[in-house]
Amino acid sequence: MGSEYAIEMLGITKRFPGIIANDNITLQLRKGEIHALLGENGAGKSTLMSVLFGLYQPEEGVIKKDGQVVKINDPNDANALGIGMVHQHFKLVECFTVLDNIILGVEPTSKFGLLKKDEARKRVVELSERYGLQVDPDAKISDITVGMQQRTEILKMLYRDNEILIFDEPTAVLTPQEIDELMQIMRNLRAEGKSILFISHKLAEIMAVADRCSVLRKGKYIGTVNTADVTMEDLSAMMVGRNVNFHVEKKESHPGEVILHVDNISVASRTHHKDAVHHVSFDVHAGEIVCIAGIDGNGQTELVYGITGLEPLKEGRLELQGKDITKASIRERSLSGMSHIPEDRHKHGLVLDFTLEDDMILQRYFEKAFSSVIGFMKRPNIRKYSEKLIDQYDIRSGQGSATTVRSMSGGNQQKAIIAREIDKDPVLLVAVQPTRGLDVGAIEYIHRQIVAQRDAGKAVLLVSLEMDEVLDVSDRILVMYEGEIVGELDPKKTTPEEMGLYMAGAKRDSERKED
């Protein structure tokens, strides 16, 4: 045990046809440190982790554990070496209890194959006390909060005596309060001698909790720094390769007339018998960005479905520019000036197996410019239109208009949707998590586009789960909790902490004024 490093990945190179996903990458995790792995989407973080777990074999490079070269052929090898991971999307059995999930796969059994849960429970309780991980071992996963689900995942690793703990984007699903708790847990783990690898692209969190940070960019290793010696700006420059403006530049908003009037609407839920949205009312004015904030699954999706027509309203009334659209079809809403950047670009936003030009005309293929009266598509016009948008919105792809959309990067796919929806020249732009899963550069671009739409006098309804996005981009914040709007906040006056209390349902406006 002479090495100061718990795990070392030295000179790792992994190629895929046409792309080098990892190009000579070195990552050295010291014993008892929190080490952040920073990089944009597509920088090679996932590939590197897959190599560590034996899912890919690198062409070059070695992995060392405690200074000894090891060969990792599959995840079982990684497990045997004491490497554990909390995935971004938890791997839990919803209908099992916390305890059952923790022991899943390593169940203590008697000679006759009967479970010996008492022993396991004792250990789990002991572990959770030691590391300050509050869980109820007998609660079902489906009944507990996301934070507690994550603690269950951490306990899974500890129960297996893992020494090297990997957290893959662990804060994406948490409230600010839960994030603070997680940070504390990570510090406790470090104090107990665990080595932690923290994968993230959130700089503030890295600065807050990590000791060192390794940065990847486009498959290349950029460097490792002590977080105490650098600023957030330094890290972001390392990650993106240029200086990025975090703060969204925007002028004062000048709200005009009411564009979208939402009056007491309710939307039924697909997953349970209660309404996903109950009795929600608000207005969106021309020239303002209204943001619906909240933790995932509090009715935002259904609210948007109701407004855009993907789901029928159970009750209530919708008006667009004074026109009743409560019962209007999706096409009618679109033609009346509603654009919709959907939450899930793969499910709703794009036909992935279409070419880029075919996806570009998805909302207007029926217009005279794109198809003739007898129903033939006007290919030359479509190509011209698509080229125009590609040019204007800087959409990058392998073969231009003829590229299959599936083969494009997430950021460019999203740009294509944004180009299509904005070019429709809407009066109302409904944008749901428009920057989800995108890298810093693309986020900056998309925020600029949204603000530009507002400045052009459009009404914008933005739904976001990202605290920073909500505070930076919006002119007015509506917090949604369990299907209701529980608070209206001014982004210039509120704080993340205050928003967090509303989002967690701990606080609500006693009587929200209808405007």
Binding site: I330, R333, H340, P342, K347, L350, L352, L362, Y365, S371
Partner: protein, 388 residues
């Protein structure tokens, strides 16, 4: 990312063609092994007979005439495979092509014999009948979310027995078969009798002369080929095709952009049904076959259509070739030595090939993986070369 010319083996069309050929060869090989097991003596002769089909005859004239027979039956098969393909492009599995085909057969035979109509209105009725049966599945799918495979299979049988019942009215008194299509059943003084109705036979366009006066060859095949091209044009060049493809590839996105996904599903099934229906008209309005009103199995044509569609790489033009091939080996089965094997052995071999067709995708992935590996190796070699 620089633009590169796609290597030949990487082209999807080449890959589909290769995969289809591999399926055929493997099917024949496994079929041969099966024949060896059943009776080693005749296996070689049998497999050649299946592959040779009409070439078994020595006289060129007879060969041509029998080629004509295969072509006559290729037309309806092609229509059935287009029916399957069309629905498949919209994300529906039309296993009901068989039933829609039966509906078309019932409609055109009854209109010809029972009502004494000419071939064109008979054909139109066949299309409508097929479309009606297809749209029932479509409506159930679109508005009640009934799985189209289940409703199609049930409708296949419902349609078969309905058609048997209907055509029992126009059957020969002494057999289970309907009258020849060129006859019109009329009541004279309370007694059923027939008069000639030659107008119910499709025009031959003089094509019979090309096939040693095979009188069954006519309009059907060129019409079927034209329809295959039309299906391709509709799917790829029109607004309707754009909508249907969008619905098939991602029905959530289709809904999101305001397409009427339900209407499109019904329309698709109606068109698919119409294609299968006209297929039946193409066979029965030649006069080649009569309908047995006691048949208790759905004609294989519709099911073979599924195979032809997949073997043809789900490309309307590809299905022209694959339909011809499947019909070719099916007919080849009749040249088997009946003392050694039963004629069904050709069904067996074609079903082997069809079964292997589902591996087309598998072959494609394997091929791509091999190519990937080879490229990776080449990159590594090139790198090693530079280093040394």
């Amino acid at each position: 990312m620089q633009k590169e010319r796609t290597p030949l083996l990487r082209k999807p069309s080449v890959q589909t063609l290769l995969a289809s050929l591999v399926c055929i060869l493997l099917g024949l090989l496994i079929g041969y092994i099966a024949l060896l097991i059943i009776n080693p003596a005749g296996a070689g002769q049998a497999i050649t007979a299946i592959v040779k089909n009409f070439w078994t005859y020595s006289k060129p004239a007879t060969q041509i005439k029998n080629l004509g027979m295969t072509l006559v039956k290729t037309a309806p098969l092609l229509m059935c495979s287009l029916s399957v393909l069309f629905a498949y492009k919209v994300g529906l599995f039309n296993i009901g092509a068989a039933g829609q085909y039966v509906a078309g057969a019932g409609a055109c035979i009854y209109c010809a014999i029972g009502l004494g109509w000419g071939w064109l209105p008979c054909m139109v009725m066949a299309i409508l009948a097929g479309a009606l049966v297809g749209s029932i599945s479509g409506v159930l799918k679109a508005y009640r979310n009934v799985n189209e495979v289940i409703s199609c299979i049930m409708l296949n049988w419902i349609t078969l027995y309905l058609v048997n019942t209907l055509l029992a009215n126009v059957k020969e008194p002494t057999s289970n078969y309907t009258y020849a299509i060129s006859k019109h059943l009329v009541m004279v003084d309370g007694a059923a009798t027939t008069v000639a109705n030659p107008g119910a036979i499709m025009p031959s366009l003089g094509l019979e002369k090309l096939f040693s006066n095979n009188k069954y060859v006519g309009l059907a095949l060129p019409l079927a080929v034209l329809l295959a091209i039309a299906v391709w044009v509709v799917l790829n060049k029109t607004r309707l095709g754009y909508e249907l493809r969008a619905t098939g590839l991602n029905k959530n996105a289709a809904k999101y952009c305001g397409m009427q996904d339900r209407k499109n599903i019904v329309l698709t099934m109606a068109i698919a049904g119409g294609l299968a229906g006209i297929g039946a008209a193409m066979l029965y309005l030649t006069g080649l076959q009569q309908w047995s009103v006691t048949q208790s199995s759905v004609p294989a044509m519709g099911f073979n259509g599924i195979a032809a569609a997949f073997l043809g790489g789900l490309n309307p033009i590809g299905t022209i070739v694959s339909s011809l091939f499947i019909q070719h080996i099916t007919d080849g089965g009749s040249f088997l030595d009946m003392r050694v094997y039963s004629a069904e052995i050709s069904d067996f071999i074609s079903s082997l090939i069809i079964y292997l067709c589902s591996f087309v995708l598998f072959f494609k992935t394997t091929l791509n993986k091999t190519l990937d590996r080879r490229e990776e190796k080449a990159i590594r070699m090139a790198k090693g070369g530079k280093a040394s």
